[in-house]
Amino acid sequence: MDHQALKDLLPLAAIGKLDPDEERALTEHLRSRCDACEGELRGFRETAAALALAGDDIGRDSEARIWNRLRARLDASTSENESAPIARRDRPAAPRPHSRRWQIATGVSTAAALAAAIYAGVIMRSNALQHDQLASLADRVSASRAELAAARNETAALRQVLVERAHLERTLMAPDLQITRLQPLDLAPSASAMVAVSRSAHSAILQANAMPTTPAGKTYELWWITKETGPVAAGLFEAGAGREVIARAEPPPAGHVILAAVTLEPAGGVSKPTGAMYLKGEPAP
């Protein structure tokens, strides 16, 4: 492969998209200390990083959650470090074969000394093994703590889902239950949703499936649209790709509801719809 052909590979290398043969050729070339290509590759990597980081931030909540995970790992790491010196303190000192007392012992019995030396060697190896095992255990404890912290977060999220599901069931059992099915529009062609409403229980709950992941800095917002008042905000929810969403909502306001709809709005919601519509449906008469 000539130099120009290798140079042509650099943009693809920066995004990790070389075929194995191309990768081998370029690696070999870079090993031959081609500063020009090395510099260009570095430049393309910076371009790729800029491309990667150009997306919207998930937000301050995300940053806080990431920090919580890191803090759990730091805590686990700290306790691991605190326990390590104890393990080392417990390790017996190695015998000193040339001490005066040892020389006296050799006068008594060379065989006994040899046996003692072998025993000491076994003990040292055994202690080294124990130390390795302790270090390995400490690593596993550290990893388990991090997993436990993550599992706690997940449990809290699942508990919330269960609470919402119970609320959904109560609403669905209400004698005056009304279901409004929302149909997908172009932006969410495979999504589906329904809103269950019980006016007597003054409750409403939305269940949605296959909504696109909520983009950073955005939220989905449910609306009741009445003839008298136009759109009335009914609740916010977020979606992760492929996940079922169950979210509480406000029941429809008084008046003749002609439409329910879901739009994508700035995080925190808005009082009147401004974003694109993802779902809409007419309440049953």
Binding site: D8, P11, L12, A14, I15, G16, K17, D19, R42, G43, F44, R45, E46, T47, A48, A49, A50, L51, A52, L53, A54, G55, D56, D57, I58, G59, R60, S62, E63, R65, I66, W67, R69, L70, R73, L74, A150, N153, E154, A157, L187, P212, T213, P215, A216, G217, K218, G240, A241, G242, L264, P266, A276
Partner: protein, 184 residues
Amino acid sequence: MVTPAEPSDRNLLAAMARGDTGALRSLNARYGGRLAALANRFLGDQADAEEVAADVLWQAWRQAASFDPARGSVASWLVTIARSRSLDRLRARQARRAPVIAEADSEPVADPAAALDEAHRGRMVRRAIDGLEANQRVVLEMAYFSDLSHAEIAEKLSMPLGTVKTRVRSAMLSLRQALGGQRE
């Protein structure tokens, strides 16, 4: 970019190498959300994406002392780790869902106030990406934000493999030209 009052990325890493957890927190404030956003484009799952971001920053914490600025910026290093870990996780769970590129593209540019110093650069990058020809942009984003090989992209877009590679290459060249010399 970083204002004069703030430590540079490299200074943060140097402080992390000395065991300064405050520096790790600052690095998280600077990159955590955006690394999670990047991982989210691969994984389509915010919790997984945040776990990846935490993994990346944890690796940076543990390897801060061995960071070599001659190989590139801190941002480039973090992004490389984040992308690699996202792809590992994606492969591990054998996800078959498509990347969320179209959805992200359909959104307007974020509120500039939300991203402070980085917003300016973010807008410039977005403008640069928007400035690409549509066929270049699509191919580049598919190449970068998915686990698809060039051959798979060629198949999906019904175009010759050589065209895919040429478009990715020319898109990277155009972007580099548009952004040249701005990063740390």
